[in-house]
Symmetry: C2
C-alpha cells in the first residue's frame, strides 16, 4: 500500500463518515424518526422535541448537547454502567492525549531526521524480515516518521526508550484516577436513598436436599430464621417455571393477536362496508395450512382454555418444582450485605450465599445448578473457548475450501443458473471466503454468550462481562497477533514449541510488528469513520423501523416493539474498543502517527456513545459499574503486551540500554496487584460503609418481594402474596418450623 | 552398607530405645519426678498418683492409658490442636497400614522371585546409574525384595503400577475422612456453650489516621458504632506498650528477688544464728560489681520508685501511643463472626477486619503494621526463605572450610594447647564440619520462626504454621532430595537449567531414588527408636529440672518455672513427621520393606504423643485445629512427589504401560482442589451455623474485654475498666460521636 492508496482509503472513509453525519442531522430532525433517534427520551417520558429543536438551530447541536451533559445526566439516562463505559472511553482518550502531547513533538523530528531506511535501501541489505522489506520502500513517507527510520545502535533510541516509560506512567496515572472515580461512582450509586430490591436480598444456592416430607422452602425458612432471627424477612425458592412460562407466553401471544385483529377489523369498517371484515387465520403451521378461524373468537377461546391451565401449572410449579436455590430477603440493607459475605454452612458445597442480582438481570435456569456442576461447566467452557480462540481460523479455512463454486454447484444444482454467468462467478469466487469469515465472525458473540451462560453464571450482567472477556482475547489473538505475525506464526510454531520460551515470542512480535503499522493506521481510520457513522446515523434500525411500521405493525405495542432500542451491547463494544486501544498503544512509540487516529477514534467514540446513551439506548440491567475492574485488567493486559513488544523492538535495534525497559513489566504487575487489592473488594462485595446509608423512606418489603416473582407466576393482586408464599411452604400442611 | 551393618544399626537403635523405655518406666514412678512426667496433670490440679500407681502395676501401664484415652480426654488435656496432631499421625498411620496390607503380601513375592539383579550382575552390565551399581551388590538381601530386582519390561511391573494406584486411593480416602473428622472437631470446639473472648472480638487493622484532634480510639468507636449500631459493644485500641511492659517486668523481677531473698533469709535463721543473714547483692553488672545492698530493702525501694512510673507510663501509653489497630467487641458470637467476614471500608487498605486471635496468642507488635508493609515484608521473607532452602548447604560448606584447625589456631591462639594434641586433633578434624552442620540446623527453626513473625502475622499459632511450612520445604529439599540426588544434582544443574523441563527432574529422581532405599530404612529406624526413646523418657528435662531444683530454685514459683513443660512445638515436630511420611510414601512401592518401619514410626509416634499430650505438654494457645489444612496440603505434596517419582521409576524399566500412571497427578490436584473448596472456608472463617449455637450463660462482657488487656496495662480492679477505656478516648475531652 503506497501513500496515495493510504490517503485514498482514509479519505473515502472520511467522506462516508461526513455523509452519514449529514444524513443523521437531516433524518433526526424529522418527527417521524423520533422513535429511532430519541427512544430513550421517549421511554423516560421526556420530550425529544427540545433536543430536536436545538438540533434544528445548528447541525452540531447534538455535539453541544453531548458535551454539556454531566455525568449525573448520563447516570439518569443510562445508569452507572453507561457512565462507566464513558469513563473507560475517556480514560483511554486521556492516555492517548497525554502520550501524544509528548511523543508527537519529540519522536517525529527525531525519527524524521535520521536516515535508517535510506541506508538500508542503499546497502541493499534486507532488514530483519521479508515483510518489512516489502512494505518499507512502498510507504517511505510514513515509515520515515517511525522507529524503522532510526539506525541501529543510534543514541536517538533513548528518546523512544524514555517514551515507553512516559506512556506507561501516563497509563498508570490515568487508570488509578479512573479506578478511584469509578469506585466512588459505584459507592454513590449503591448508597442512594431510594431502595432497590436487590440490596435487601441474598441469593442462596446449593440448598441441601431436605427430608422428603419437607419442602425446600421450609428448610430455607427454618435455616435462615435460625441464623438471622431478628433480621430475616422472607424467602422465595427458585422454581423451574419453564412450563408455566410457556403457557403464560402463549396467552400473551393470543392477547396480542386479538389486539391486532381488532385494529384490523376496525380499519376494515369503511363507509362502503360498515360491517367490516372479521380477520381470520389458519391454525396450522405458520398460519399457512389448517382450518380457517375467526382470529378474535379463536384467540379468546384459547385464552379461556389456557387461563385455568396456567393457574394449575402455577400451583404445581410453586409446590413441586422447587429448585435447590432461593432468594432470601432481609429487613435492612447492611444485614443483607453482611449476610452475602458471611460463610453460612460448615461445608462449602451447601448454602452458598452471594449478593442477589437485580430481578431483571437474573438468569433463572442457572440459579439451581450446584457448585460442582458449575465448576465442571466452567472448566469445559474455558477449554472450548481456548480451542476456539486458537483454532478459529481452521474451520473458516475449511469452509472456504469446501464452499468453492464447483462444490456448490454439485450440492445445490439449482444455483447453476446464477453461478454459471461469468460476471457473477468472478465476484462470488473472490468473496466466498470473506463471506464465510464474516458469517463466522457474526456468529461468534452469540456463541460466546451462549458459552458464558452455560457456565452457570447467575446474572445477565456477569454473562456479558464473561463474554466480553472471551471476545477480547479472541480479537487480540486473531486480529492483532495473527494478522501481525501472519504466516510467520504458523511456520515457526515448531520453533516456539521446541524452545517454549517467552523470549522467542517477544522476538517474533518485535520483528513482525513494525511492518503492520500502515495496515493498522488504515484499519483504525476505517473502523471509526465508517463504524461511528453507521452507529450515529442508525440507518439500519431506521430502515427496519420504517419497514415494520409500514407493513407489519398494527397496534401501538407493535410499533413500540419495532423501535425498542435495546441496550449498549457491552459484550462486543468493549472488546472492539479494547482492540483499537491495544493496537494504538502497541504502535504509539513505534509509529507515533497512529496516536492522532487513536485520539480521534476515542474522542468521537466518547461523543457518539454519550449521545446514544442520552437519547437512544435503554439499559436492560444495572450492575453499578461492575464492568470496570474487567476493563481495567484488559487495559493493563494491553499495556503489558505493548511493553513486552517494545523491549523486543528496541532490543532488535541492537541498543545496549534496552534492558532498562525490563523493570516495566514487573512494575505493571505490581500496579495491577495494588489496584486489585485496594479497589476490587468493593466491586466484588458491598462494603458495610456503603450499605449503611440511610433510606429515604421505610422500604416497602412486599414490593421488594414481588419484584423477584417471575412474570408468569405473579399473582394478580398484591394481597395474594401470602397465598403465593404459602403455596411453596405448606404443601405438606406443616407449620413452618422456627 | 551391607546387611550385617544394617542389622547392627537397627538393633543398636532398638536397644537404646528399650533402655530408654525402661529408664522411663523406672523414673516416672518416683514421686519426685512427677513434675517432669506429669506436669500437665499437676497444672490441671489432677493427681498424678493414679497414673503412677497404675503404672506401678505394669510397666506398660502408660500404653494402656494412652490407648484407652478418648479424643475428648485429649481435647480436655491438650486442646483441639493436640487432637488434630494425633489425627495427623493416625491418618498417616492408616495410609501406611492400608498400603502395607496389600503391598507387602503382593509385591515382596513378586519381587523376590524375579532375578533382575542376578542377571544384571551376571551380565556385568551396569544398571542405569553408578550409585545403584555400587549399592546393589552390597545389600542383595534387601534389594532383592524391591523394585530393583524386577527385569525391565517384565509383566510383573503391573503389580507395582497398580500398587501406586492403590496407595494413592488409600491416601485420598483417608485424607477425606480425616478432613471431615477434623472439620467436625473444629465445629464442635467452636460451638461449645462456654464462651471464649476471641469469639466476641474482631481484629481491626489499618485504622485510618484520624484528624489530629481525635484519638484513634474515638474514630474506631464512632466508625463501628455507626456500622453496627445495635451490636457494637466496646473497642480497645492497640497501644505500643513496650516501655510500660519493661517497667512492669522490672517490678515483677524485683518481686521475685524479694521472695527469693525472704526464703534465703528464713532458711538462714538456724538455731545457732536466730537472726539469720540478710541476703545481699551488688547492683552492678550481673550482680558481680557495684555497691553491695540488702536485697529485700533495695528491691522494695525500687518497686516503690517504679510503681508511680508505671502508672504514669500506663497513662501515656493509653493516650499517646495508640497504634492503627484495634480489637472491637460485639455482644454476640454470630455478629462477631459475620463482622469479621464482611468488607467494611470501600477501599481495601483501610479498616481491614479479621477474626481476633486468642488473647494469649496475639503478637502485639505485628498488629499495627499496615497492609502495604505486610505485603512487602511477606515478599522479602519469602525470598529469604527461598534462598535459605536452596543454598543452605553453601554457608555450611564455607564455614567448615574456614573453620579448619589451622585457621582456628591462627585466630584463637589459646586453643593451641588443646588442638595440638594428636588424639584431640584427629577427633576435631573429623567432627568440625558435622558440628557446623548441627549448629546451623539447630538454629534454623528459630531463624524460620523469626522470619515468620517478621512477616507481620498477628498470632503465634499462625506464625507456627508459617514456620512449619517453611521448615517442611527445607527438610524435604535438603534432606530428602539433596541426599538422594547427592552430587548428581549439582553436576547436572546445568543440564536442568538448559532444558528447564520437569521431565528431566523426574528422570533424575527416578534414577537416584532406588539407591537410597537402604539409607532411608536405617534413617527411619534410627530416628524413631532413639528420637522417641528420648522423647518419652524426657531425660534432658529431667536432668535440668533436678539440677535447677537443687542449686538454683529457692521459691515455689522458681520450682514451678523449672518444670514448666511448654507446648508440643508443632513448628518442628510436624515437618519432621512429614519428612518421614514423604520418605516412606516415596519408597512404599519401590522397596515395600520400608512400610513396616513407617508403620512402627507412626504407631509409636501416635502412642507417645498421646501420652505426652495427656500428661506432659501444656498448650500455650488454641487455634481449634487451624493447623489441619496445612498438614493436609503437605501430605498431598508428598503424594505428588511420590507419584511423579513412580512415573519416572516405572518408566525407566522400559515398561510400555507406565503412562497409565500419568492421570494420577491431575487426580491429586483435583482432589486437593475439591477438599480445599469443600472444607477450607470453615477453617479460614467461622461459619454462621457454628457461631450461632447457644451459650451456657449470658457472657460476662467485662471479662471478655479484660482478657485482651495486656498484663502491663491491666488495672488492679475490674471497676477501673471504664477509667481504662476513658484513658484512650477522652484525651481531647470530646464526647464520643455516635
Amino acid at each position: 500500500m503506497d501513500l496515495a492508496s493510504f490517503l485514498t482509503s482514509v479519505l473515502t472513509s472520511f467522506v462516508i463518515f461526513v455523509v452519514l453525519v449529514l444524513v443523521f442531522t437531516f433524518l433526526s430532525r424529522r418527527p417521524g424518526n423520533a422513535p429511532v433517534y430519541y427512544p430513550s427520551l421517549l421511554l423516560r417520558g421526556l420530550d425529544p422535541g427540545e433536543g430536536r429543536r436545538r438540533g434544528t438551530r445548528s447541525p452540531v447541536g447534538w455535539i453541544r448537547d453531548a458535551i454539556s451533559a454531566s455525568e449525573t445526566d448520563v447516570i439518569a439516562a443510562g445508569g452507572v454502567d453507561a457512565a462507566v463505559y464513558l469513563v473507560f472511553l475517556s480514560s483511554v482518550l486521556s492516555i492517548l492525549v497525554y502520550s501524544g502531547i509528548v511523543l508527537l513533538p519529540v519522536l517525529l523530528p527525531v525519527a524524521g531526521t535520521d536516515r535508517g531506511l535510506e541506508l538500508t535501501a542503499a546497502a541493499g541489505i534486507s532488514p530483519k524480515n521479508d515483510e518489512k522489506n516489502n512494505s518499507a520502500p512502498e510507504l517511505p513517507e510514513i515509515q520515515r516518521l517511525a522507529l524503522s527510520n532510526i539506525q541501529p545502535q543510534s543514541m536517538r533510541l533513548w528518546a523512544f526508550l524514555l517514551s515507553v516509560y512516559w506512556v506507561s506512567f501516563v497509563t498508570y496515572f490515568v487508570l488509578w484516577k479512573s479506578y478511584k472515580h469509578v469506585s466512588n461512582l459505584r459507592a454513590t450509586a449503591r448508597s442512594t436513598p431510594d431502595f432497590k430490591p436487590e440490596e435487601f436480598a441474598v441469593l442462596v444456592r446449593d440448598v441441601p436436599r431436605s427430608s422428603p416430607d419437607e419442602t425446600i422452602k421450609d428448610s430455607v425458612d427454618s435455616y435462615f430464621r435460625a441464623l438471622h432471627p431478628n433480621t430475616f424477612y422472607r424467602s422465595m425458592v427458585v422454581t423451574d417455571h419453564t412450563k408455566a412460562d410457556k403457557i403464560y407466553l402463549e396467552i400473551e401471544d393470543h392477547k396480542k393477536k386479538i389486539a391486532r385483529a381488532e385494529v384490523l377489523y376496525a380499519n376494515s369498517k369503511t363507509e362502503s362496508n360498515p360491517e367490516g371484515i372479521k380477520p381470520t387465520h389458519r391454525t396450522g403451521f405458520l398460519g399457512l395450512i389448517g382450518k380457517k378461524v375467526d382470529t378474535i373468537e379463536y384467540c379468546s377461546e384459547q385464552i379461556k382454555e389456557l387461563l385455568p391451565k396456567l393457574e394449575a401449572e402455577q400451583k404445581t410449579t410453586l409446590r413441586d418444582k422447587q429448585q435447590q436455590a432461593a432468594i432470601v430477603f432481609f429487613n435492612s440493607r447492611s444485614v443483607a450485605a453482611s449476610a452475602s459475605q458471611t460463610l453460612h454452612a460448615q461445608v462449602f458445597d451447601k448454602w452458598t450465599v452471594m449478593e442477589a442480582p437485580e430481578p431483571r438481570d437474573i438468569i433463572w435456569p442457572n440459579l439451581s445448578r450446584n457448585i460442582y456442576e458449575r465448576q465442571i461447566r466452567q472448566v469445559v467452557v474455558y477449554s472450548i473457548v481456548f480451542l476456539t480462540v486458537v483454532f478459529y481460523m481452521v474451520p473458516i479455512t475449511a469452509v472456504s475450501a469446501i464452499s468453492t463454486l464447483e462444490n456448490l454447484r454439485k450440492v445445490l444444482p439449482f444455483l447453476k443458473v446464477v453461478v454459471d454467468r461469468p460476471a457473477i462467478k468472478t465476484v462470488l469466487q473472490a468473496y466466498l471466503p470473506q463471506i464465510a469469515l464474516i458469517v463466522f465472525l457474526a456468529l461468534l458473540p452469540a456463541f460466546l454468550m451462549f458459552l458464558s451462560k452455560a457456565e452457570g453464571i447467575p446474572s445477565q450482567s456477569h454473562a456479558v462481562r464473561a463474554t466480553s472477556g472471551k471476545y477480547f482475547y479472541f480479537v487480540v489473538f486473531n486480529v492483532f497477533l495473527v494478522y501481525t505475525l501472519g504466516k510467520t506464526l504458523f511456520t515457526s510454531l515448531r520453533t516456539i514449541l521446541d524452545n517454549a520460551n517467552i523470549g522467542v515470542i517477544i522476538n517474533m512480535l518485535a520483528t513482525s510488528l513494525p511492518g503492520g503499522a500502515t495496515f493498522f493506521l488504515t484499519f483504525v481510520a476505517l473502523k471509526f469513520f465508517v463504524g461511528y457513522g453507521l452507529e450515529l446515523s442508525r440507518l439500519i434500525p431506521l430502515i427496519i423501523f420504517h419497514l415494520k411500521r409500514k407493513y407489519l405493525c398494527k397496534t401501538e405495542d407493535e410499533v413500540k416493539a419495532a423501535w425498542a432500542p435495546g441496550d449498549l451491547g457491552y459484550s462486543t463494544r468493549v472488546p472492539n474498543d479494547m482492540l483499537i486501544a491495544t493496537v494504538v498503544l502497541c504502535y504509539s512509540v513505534m509509529a507515533p502517527l497512529i496516536i492522532p487516529f487513536g485520539v480521534a477514534y476515542f474522542a468521537l467514540g466518547w461523543l457518539i456513545a454519550k449521545n446514544q446513551v442520552l437519547r437512544v439506548y435503554v439499559p436492560s440491567y444495572e450492575s453499578n459499574g461492575r464492568m470496570w475492574p474487567h476493563m481495567h485488567t484488559r487495559i493493563i493486559a494491553a499495556l503489558l503486551l505493548y511493553q513486552a513488544t517494545m523491549i523486543g523492538v528496541i532490543g532488535l535495534k541492537k541498543f545496549i540500554y534496552s534492558p532498562i525497559l525490563a523493570p516495566l513489566l514487573p512494575i505493571s504487575f505490581i500496579f495491577a496487584y495494588i489496584c486489585h487489592m485496594r479497589f476490587y473488594p468493593a466491586f466484588a462485595n458491598t462494603p458495610l460503609e456503603v450499605a449503611q446509608h440511610e433510606l429515604k423512606e421505610t422500604p416497602n418489603m412486599d414490593a421488594i418481594y414481588t419484584a423477584y416473582i417471575p412474570q408468569c407466576l405473579k399473582p394478580d393482586k398484591l394481597e395474594d402474596l401470602d397465598v403465593f408464599e404459602d403455596a411453596q411452604s405448606h404443601s405438606t400442611s406443616r407449620a413452618p418450623s422456627i
